[in-house]
């Protein structure tokens, strides 16, 4: 697949926007495998962890991480999704948005080590909203953050514990993570600003 191609159901609005695939499927696979091992190392086997993905693509990534951890350790890992829409700080700047799903595993989050999973870490505002949302759902023992791409430009004092790839970007560029389950292919695209 050429670096400039776009997924079929998201046609490029503008032909002079260039897309560069900075990660392809094998890179994403290796990055997730490494993150899974790092989580296990840092949490000493991950006995009390809960993986919570932030919709949409964070949920897919959480499911993949849970599968890898289970393959290595042989015990199932509770996972779920955490929608942060109602907690965002930019709600009043755009029309009201459709909500994503919040679904906790039956174990809940109380006294557990919650690992939040998002596809791209940028301003940190989504993670701030996720921490607030989590606060209303219970009291985890600790919260960590995993992200496939850290593109910099933080606006809040937030950092990731596990990073798939550090990607230096300009603030005008757009980073898009595509996953097989949602977009039909795995890739991380860097789109130049107009």
């Amino acid at each position: 697949m050429s670096a400039a191609s776009v997924p079929p159901h998201r046609p490029s609005p503008d032909s002079d926007v260039s897309h560069k695939a900075v990660l392809e499927a094998p890179d994403i696979r290796r990055a997730l495998t490494r993150i899974a091992h790092e989580i296990l190392e840092r949490t000493k086997g991950g006995r009390d962890i809960v993986l919570l993905g932030i919709p949409t693509r964070g949920v897919t990534l959480a499911a993949r991480l849970a599968r890898r951890i289970e393959e290595v350790e042989g015990h199932p890992v509770p996972q779920g999704s955490l929608d942060v829409t109602m907690y965002r700080d930019d709600l009043r700047m755009r029309p009201a948005r459709a909500l994503g799903r919040t679904e906790l595993p039956p174990e809940g989050v109380d006294d557990r080590l919650v690992v939040l999973i998002d596809d791209v870490l940028f301003s940190g505002r989504t993670v701030r909203a996720a921490l607030d949302a989590l606060n209303d759902l219970g009291r985890p023992r600790a919260v960590q953050l995993a992200t496939l791409v850290d593109r910099g430009h933080r606006e809040l004092p937030i950092r990731a514990d596990y990073v798939g790839k550090n990607l230096p970007t300009s603030a005008r560029e757009t980073v898009r993570v595509l996953v097989e389950e949602v977009d039909g292919r795995d890739a991380v695209l860097l789109e130049a600003g107009k």
Binding site: M86, R94, A96, L137
Partner: protein, 315 residues
């Protein structure tokens, strides 16, 4: 330019589905230890009730409070309205207080429409005269969808006082948008004159309709509006149009029984039917809060409403 929810006909199919899907996601809030979201913090919702309606008012109040909005309840009794203040002056008072949303219940059909021209905030119709009650229709559709799945092609029978029922009109309009087939059943005296123009079937014999019905919705016999002789006796009405155990047995296995409440047990619905597992009457109350949260979020939660109509000044 304003955005309001005044009639169920204001909603496109996409709007209606967005409200129902949003409600679906909000339903889990009721099971959480903290039943509150910060989304409407700093926004003010005024409940403007010119008619008594405790259940609708507390449902809207609970919905707004779970979204962290400030709620001001304004009821006509003991207020300046009983001293003769006009709707317009009340509206200007609300405007001066900076209401972001106004939920209005009024005895006169069309009052919310008038109000929408006088205030800047979003107007939500919580029942106007014999006209409409769109959030009731939304919560009914939501309840049906939870029990039966997609409403496309579902057959819904609404039985009773169609003439005075804003619930029936809103339901007919919304269910038609969602692709369901509605049949209205009542004595001829309790149909409005223009019912022939509504997008639904009409019938006079309940027993003939029940076997091919997925949802049967019983409407309350509104004794307070029965000032003319619409039917000979309550007992005769109950025998011809009430839902008792025998009639419930004629429904298909999966069919559900609904009632917008408050119900007259023994008149339009028998106690054994109201308390049966097929009855969704208690669910409807809980779903009411969830659906109203979805409506308030979609109207007030963003920079501009995600659903509803845009009306121009003077329309």
């Amino acid at each position: 330019m304003k955005h309001h929810l005044i009639s169920a006909a204001d909603l496109t199919k996409d709007d209606a589905l967005l409200i129902l899907d949003t409600a679906e996601e909000l339903a889990s809030i009721a099971d959480r230890p903290i039943k509150k979201l910060p989304t409407l913090r700093g926004r003010t919702v005024v409940n403007l009730f010119f008619e008594d309606s405790t259940r609708t008012r507390i449902s809207f109040e609970a919905a707004a409070k779970r979204l962290s909005a400030d709620v001001i309840n304004f009821s006509a009794k003991g207020s300046s309205v009983s001293k003769g203040e006009s709707l317009k002056d009340t509206a200007l008072t609300l405007e001066a207080m900076g209401a972001d949303g106004v939920v209005i219940r009024h005895g006169a059909s069309g009052a919310p429409h008038r109000l929408a021209n006088w205030v800047r905030g979003s107007v939500v119709n919580a029942g106007d005269g014999t006209h409409e009650h769109p959030t009731q229709a939304l919560l009914d559709a939501y309840t049906m969808r939870r029990r039966l799945g997609d409403l496309d092609g579902r057959r819904v029978t609404i039985v009773g006082d169609i003439l005075h029922s804003r619930v029936a009109r809103s339901n007919v309009l919304l269910l038609e948008t969602l692709g369901a087939e509605v049949t209205l059943v009542a004595p001829p005296t309790l149909f409005p004159v223009a019912v022939g123009t509504w997008p639904c079937e009409i019938a006079y014999d309940l027993d003939a309709v029940l076997p091919k019905t997925d949802v049967v919705m019983m409407l309350r016999v509104q004794q307070e509006r029965m000032n003319a002789a619409y039917f000979p006796t309550v007992r005769e009405y109950s025998r011809r149009y009430g839902l008792d155990g025998r009639r419930m047995a004629a429904l298909p296995q999966h069919a559900v029984v609904m009632h917008p409440g408050p119900m007259n047990r023994g008149v339009e619905i028998a106690a054994e039917v109201a308390d049966s597992p097929r009855s969704t009457i208690v669910e409807q109350v809980a779903n009411g809060v969830t659906v109203r949260m979805a409506v308030l979020y979609l109207l007030l939660g963003g920079s501009q409403p995600a659903v509803g109509t845009t009306r121009l000044e003077g329309e």
